[in-house]
Amino acid sequence: MLGVKNALRLPALFLLFFILLGVLLTGLSLLELRVSHFGEPPQTARALAASRLPALLLERFPAAVLFALVLTLFPLYRRPGNRFFSYLLPMGAAFVVLAFGGQALRGVLAAPRAPELSAAGYFLPQRFQEFGGTVLYLEAVERSRLDGVVVLSAPAAGPRLAYLGVGEVRLAGEKVTLRGGGRSLTAPARPAYAVLFAEAEDPVRSLLAGFAADLALVARELGVRYRASLPSYYFSCLALVFSFFTAGVFFRISRWPLANVLLAFLVMRGYLFLFRWLREGVAGELAKLAGAPRLVGYLPEAALLALGAILLLVDLLFLPFDRRGEELAGA
């Protein structure tokens, strides 16, 4: 009875983790957006946040579900309950939230029109700022016109400072172009205060950026599947939830619990990498060879399901469910 009770609390814990993570991830993203666009007037900034909120929610939603599922694995193996229910309930809850919650979100959320951003959001008057490999200084910003523009080029033998006078700014997609004084400079459209989040390039930051990019790809792919057909969307959700949950087998793979936790995280990270690799690399090549792009399109999900099934079999056949208890009893 205690085993069933322990298993029953898992969906509740999952929901708690999911809500906390959802709020945290979305909240931080909104905060970052607010800081980056601090140069905009408050109404514009609020309208911008409102317009980006649905997209942000949809992007962070799968990450919140998958992370919450991973966090649920900790109490699951700490106090193992009934094995059947311990597997079924959290996995079921995660699938329901990811599939139907995502569906509901997509149905309910409608993004208001994004406000038109002016040059003022990208340039700070009377402050030096990095702009496409150069440093820019300007006296004043008035809509798309910049006054008193000075450019500092990269170190060179000749003069580095150049006075451009009046400049005209054009925003085109992800790029900002500045023309003035016979010169044209182009840089990525980065809000003026986004520089506060710029940090030195190092391997750890690259790993984190790769992790975030893979999670964003998963969210995008779910959106694509949703627009294509509901069954394919449910299939993707199932593959993700099943594979992540069964990776929990690594929580009991060896006698050393901390190493197990690390291995489990590595495997989950590997799933995301595999998903990207199959989707962006292998699937396209296979589609060309096999000539069945629709079927090959499901390759990432199929691979995740297959790996999940193997891990589940290993779990059921070779590993004791309450390894910790057995170790303690043995000790």
Binding site: L196, E199, A259, L266
Partner: protein, 587 residues
């Protein structure tokens, strides 16, 4: 430590540090840039140290987690509550956090500066060598020799180039040039701090000894020191100066010996230059004279006096060039506020401060107003002048405290000098000297870095004290206050992150420790190198979240509330971590 488990934990942490440093050294070797051989090992050790401080938090967290999960088992020590078991190690963690803070705030900024500096010096040295060889080929022997000397000042162990320099010297049939530093230091100014009547007494004594030059000098000085007072001393000093000058003028050179006549005429000419305040001409004149007549006291005294005057308006180029190999802040950029409303942007390649003197390299000034360039000029070197600046006369903001002398002269040769090169506009100056008056205080300059794609890289080499000093008014110099303030907040946060994540790692390690006394299989140990990586990712997320919160607090409420908020947050996290740690059972 009290238990074998605790000893094992400590040893593990030590091994983690050792291996991490070795890994960082290897990383530095693999990523070693193109450097002079003499710089390679200093660069490698410094780069390994910088990486070590960069990753000290994850390495410590990983070491603690592994140590606690592997070695600190309930069965290994006596059965005591966990908090008592780890009490001494908590102290160790606090000590480590203090050491980390010292490294981070004390040695780290200088080490980062040194890394950039060694790379720049190699580039600069190579260009000097190229210039030296080119000058040598084209027969400009003196210029070639100068460039060789400067190159060897950077890469002193280059035997090949040293040989090339010696060959050049032989070709020039000259001994190695007298190094400027070997010249005698200026004699102390005899009149400094003395009263007019004392100066007058000295002048009278010289007058009696028929040393007319000295008598005239001291009498003139007494008159000058008296200022506007027209008292008896001042009037007598004026009379004595006139009489001494009369004696100088009335002397008939024809009655003197040839050598004496030449010396007298030369001294008189130099003295006239000095009296006309043409100090630069007087300096070179007396320099020649002192060389020709080493025993002549007048020549020596007036050489010292004119040098002192010259150094009020210029600097010696060799001194500036000697600063090339020394480390200092690079890429300075600021708006130099002017009271007349005109904008002036100053770019400085490098600043080197030694005891008492500060030199600048690669200066560029762009002054503009109402859509047109008023002045655009470049100067290879400059020297900080902290003497009183006639601020109002130069259109500068009141209270300007320092300036940069842009006129460089050769210590020995008049032909060589460096003045700002005007690229556009006009070089109309309200005063005779080439002086760039500075709006920022000298202590603030190091923080005024040109922005780059990465704020951390840019400000990482600036000390916390400089950042703190500059933070208040940095906006007036065109810098983004929030970027600088955020850097301060994040730097203050790091020691707390060290402590908090260390405590979290202890708690995690203990929670996921070995359940039995049996060791894990050997294969499990293979994952140990992955722990620092995982800890680095965790640290990255922790710091990213803090950066976002701190940036928002900073922009929304300002620096002080953000600082207080961050301190409260870190205190709360620390308390939670301690509670979590204390709550771990010993079973």
């Amino acid at each position: 430590m009290r238990s074998p488990g605790a000893r094992g934990a400590l040893s593990t942490l030590f091994v983690f540090y050792l291996l991490a440093f070795a890994a960082f050294l290897l990383w530095s070797i693999l990523a070693l840039p193109d450097l002079f051989p003499v710089f390679r090992w200093p660069y490698l050790w410094t780069a390994a140290f910088v990486h070590f401080v960069d990753y000290a938090i994850p390495v410590t967290a990983a070491g603690l987690a592994v140590a606690y999960s592997l070695f600190l088992r309930a069965g290994s020590g006596d059965r005591r509550p966990f908090h008592r078991l780890v009490g001494s190690q908590l102290t160790l963690l606090v000590v480590l956090a203090i050491l980390y803070t010292v490294f981070l705030l004390g040695f780290y900024p200088r080490s980062r500066t040194l890394l950039t500096e060694l790379e720049d010096l190699t580039r600069h040295g190579r260009s000097l060598l190229e210039a030296a060889r080119q000058d040598s080929r084209q027969g400009r022997q003196q210029a070639a020799l100068d460039a060789y000397e400067r190159y060897l000042g950077i890469n002193r162990r280059d035997a090949t180039v040293s040989g090339e320099r010696d060959e050049l010297l032989q070709a020039m049939h000259a001994a190695p040039p007298a190094v400027a530093g070997k010249e005698e230091p200026p004699a102390p100014e005899p009149a400094e701090g003395q009263q007019p009547h004392e100066l007058l007494a000295i002048a009278k004594a010289y007058f009696l000894k028929e040393d007319w030059f000295s008598a005239n000098y001291f009498a003139t000085l007494a008159e000058q020191v008296s200022g506007d007072r027209r008292d008896a001393v001042s009037r007598e000093a004026a009379r004595l100066a006139a009489r001494a000058w009369g004696e100088i003028s009335s002397r008939d050179p024809n009655k003197m010996e040839l050598a004496e006549r030449r010396l007298f005429q030369d001294k008189k000419r130099g003295y006239e230059l000095y009296q006309r305040e043409d100090y630069l001409a007087a300096y070179y004149h007396f320099l020649q004279l002192a060389r020709g007549y080493p025993g002549d006291g007048d020549a020596k005294r007036y050489l010292d006096l004119s040098r002192k005057q010259v150094l009020r308006v210029t600097y010696f180029l060799d001194e500036a060039e000697r600063m090339d190999p020394l480390p200092g802040p690079q890429g300075l950029l600021f708006v130099n506020a002017r009271a007349d409303g005109k904008r002036e942007i100053v770019s400085i390649g490098k600043m080197v401060a030694t005891a008492g003197e500060t030199f600048f390299k690669d200066l560029e000034v762009l002054r503009f107003d109402a859509g047109r360039v008023l002045l655009h000029s470049q100067a290879p070197y400059g020297k900080l002048d902290v003497s009183e600046t006639p601020a109002a006369a130069q259109g500068q903001a009141p209270g300007a405290r320092a300036g940069i002398l842009l006129h460089g002269i050769d210590r020995l040769r008049r032909e060589r000098e460096s003045v700002p090169r005007v690229l556009a506009g006009s070089d109309r100056r309200e005063e005779p000297r080439y002086l760039l008056t500075l709006a920022p205080r000298p202590g603030e300059l190091a923080a005024l870095r040109a922005p780059g794609p990465s704020g951390r890289t840019r400000l990482g080499s600036v000390g916390l004290d400089t950042l703190w000093l500059a933070r208040g008014g940095i906006g007036a110099f065109g810098q983004m206050e929030s970027a600088l303030s955020l850097e301060i907040l994040m730097r203050l946060l790091l020691p707390f992150a060290f402590l908090n994540l260390g405590l979290l790692a202890m708690a995690l390690g203990w929670s996921y420790r070995l359940a039995s006394s049996r060791r894990p299989p050997a294969a499990a140990y293979l994952v140990i190198p992955l722990f620092p990586l995982a800890a680095a990712l965790l640290t990255g997320v922790y710091l990213k979240v803090h950066r976002t919160l701190a940036a928002f607090a900073l922009l929304a409420w300002g620096f002080n509330p953000a600082l207080i908020g961050l301190a409260v947050l870190e205190g709360a996290i620390l308390a939670v971590m301690l509670i979590v740690l204390a709550g771990r059972g010993a079973e």
